[in-house]
């Protein structure tokens, strides 16, 4: 896409160029004392006068500075970008370079999002988003990439990374063992919270908020889409853990499919019969669940009902030692 299509684009390009310029200054900070304005001017000349794509312009400018400093490309580090492991990100708007595997690609819910999914490294996984406007090559599932110039983002205490127009993507021939940052908790299911059972979600792109009386807190009255979930509390007598079973795990947990749940609700002219029906089958039993921690909640990826017979003899031996 030529960067001079319209004014908005032009302004965006300018800010982008500024960002690129600052990056380049940072990259050379150990070697050359560059002024961001000068760098930006050189980029601007290539991009806006000679219609060179931004990446190519950046490359060309960097090369000329490399020559000036008598350096090989390899001598440049990732500028002042942090190398933070994915599961250990704890700062908003931090620039990062990572080598990561694309663990999952998710369906995008919005036209402005080109790709969304999970990136993983040894520390664990984090969500990534690439926007259409950044015009980046598509990432492939299970491939490993060196990604430079990502920026972190925070939403309600959870961190993700955004790919942007300045991000460089290089597929690398490395294996990455993705770490397991899932939480595993177990205990008796002592409560099912409101908002469980057959619920309706806002159908607006990228919204998915749960409707209260047919209203979305963001989009007002909407025709909701049915979903199934259980927000539960696991308690082991020492601590409580809040967990969310999504549609798939709720179906597996309760044996009730969303279709059956809809039918129950239709017959009763009431959606609350669904959770009332489910309560008796799951409350007061022991479960072990694991999945990523998201705010207060563990999002259940896997669960098992602890229904093996207990080994009384082993329990007794252990108990005598307490």
């Amino acid at each position: 896409m030529p960067p001079h299509e319209n004014n908005t684009e032009a302004i965006e390009t300018m800010t982008d160029l500024q960002t690129h310029a600052e990056d380049i200054v940072a990259q050379f900070s150990d070697h050359l004392d560059l002024a961001a304005d000068d760098v930006e001017e050189r980029l601007d000349n290539l991009v806006n006068e000679y219609q060179v794509p931004v990446d190519e312009a950046r490359r060309s400018v960097v090369n000329s500075y490399l020559d000036e400093a008598g350096l090989e490309r390899d001598a440049l580090g990732g500028g002042d970008n942090a190398s933070v492991r994915l599961a250990e990100i704890e700062q908003d708007e931090q620039w990062l370079d990572v080598t990561a595997k694309v663990v999952e690609l998710w369906e995008t819910r919005s036209d402005s999002v080109a790709q969304v999914g999970l990136l993983g490294d040894e520390s664990g996984t984090t969500k990534f988003v690439a926007f259409e406007t950044s015009d980046l090559p598509a990432l492939e599932e299970n491939a490993v990439y060196r990604l430079e110039n990502l920026v972190t983002d925070e939403y309600q205490g959870n961190f993700s990374v955004k790919l942007n127009r300045t991000t460089t993507i290089t597929e690398v021939d490395e294996t990455v063992e993705v770490g397991d940052d899932a939480e595993t908790v177990e205990g008796a299911l002592v409560d099912i919270q409101s908002g469980s059972g057959l619920i309706k979600r806002c159908p607006e792109a990228d919204c998915t908020r749960v409707l209260q009386n047919g209203r979305c807190s963001e989009h007002g009255d909407v025709e909701g889409e049915f979903d199934l979930r259980i927000k539960g509390v696991l308690d082991d007598g020492e601590a409580v853990h809040e967990v969310i079973f999504d549609r798939e795990s709720t179906e597996a947990l309760t044996g009730t499919t969303i279709e059956a749940a809809k039918q129950m609700a239709m017959d009763a002219l009431d959606t609350t019969v669904v959770i009332d029906e489910m309560r008796g089958g799951v409350l007061g039993r022991y479960y072990r669940v694991s999945g990523p921690q998201f705010g207060r909640y563990v999002l259940v990826d896997e669960f098992e009902r602890l229904s093996d017979s207990v080994d009384a003899e082993a329990a007794l031996i252990e108990a005598r030692s307490i």
Partner: protein, 201 residues
């Protein structure tokens, strides 16, 4: 930073110890502050989780339904009361046919009897029918938690153990014995062996 009040943990305590408790207290002057029952082994309980055998149920209400259930564990009997303000638990009690294994999540309640004693009961938040393996797992868990509490009564800084010494004159070592006996009981049932618990409906 303001924070939503944290949910109270459901303590695991055998009926014998639960029924020996009588002292309740709050930790703040706020009218809505949680009320805790002081367990003799030195822990505060605002909520309990128990699994046992429902042996009897009776509607003891005069005008409205008010169900009383007797739930038996290896050490004694829990009394559970559910009325119009616990509609789910009340309807479960109405529908269940004793004997049946049940899980109960609930709040300890105390009341003074005519002769000045203190009775302790459970006001259920939920009651559900469960199977024998869930019951056995609870017995192991309750025994383990009890033994842990007993082991910690002399720990420095165990304020609830100190409170229990001040409020009660109860031989804490007995709770250790009852917990071990409960586990021995399970072990014997195991050896009698082969009684595969019926599958849950």
């Amino acid at each position: 930073m303001s924070q939503a009040p944290t949910r109270e943990v459901a303590r695991r305590v055998f009926a014998r110890e639960f029924n020996d408790a009588s002292h309740t207290f709050k930790e703040s002057d706020d009218e809505r502050a949680p009320v805790y029952l002081l367990l003799p082994t030195g822990e505060r309980a605002n909520r309990v989780f128990l699994v046992g055998t429902l042996t009897e149920k009776e509607d003891v209400g005069e005008d409205d339904e008010y169900w009383r259930g007797r739930i038996v564990d290896p050490t004694g009997t829990f009394f559970v009361y559910a009325g119009q303000y616990q509609p789910d638990a009340a309807s479960t009690l109405r529908d269940l046919e004793p004997p049946a294994y049940v899980s109960v999540v609930g709040k300890p309640r105390t009341y003074e009897t005519d002769d000045g004693g203190i009775n302790v009961s459970v006001r259920p938040e939920s009651i559900t029918a469960v199977d024998a393996t869930t019951r056995d797992r609870w017995v192991v868990e309750a025994a383990t938690r009890t033994l842990e509490r007993v082991a910690a009564v002399d720990d420095e800084g165990n304020e609830y153990a100190r409170m229990a010494r001040d409020e009660y004159d109860l031989p804490v070592a007995d709770y250790r014995e009852t917990a071990l006996a409960a586990l021995e009981g399970l072990d014997e049932t195991d050896e009698l062996g082969g009684d595969i618990p019926p599958a849950e409906p």
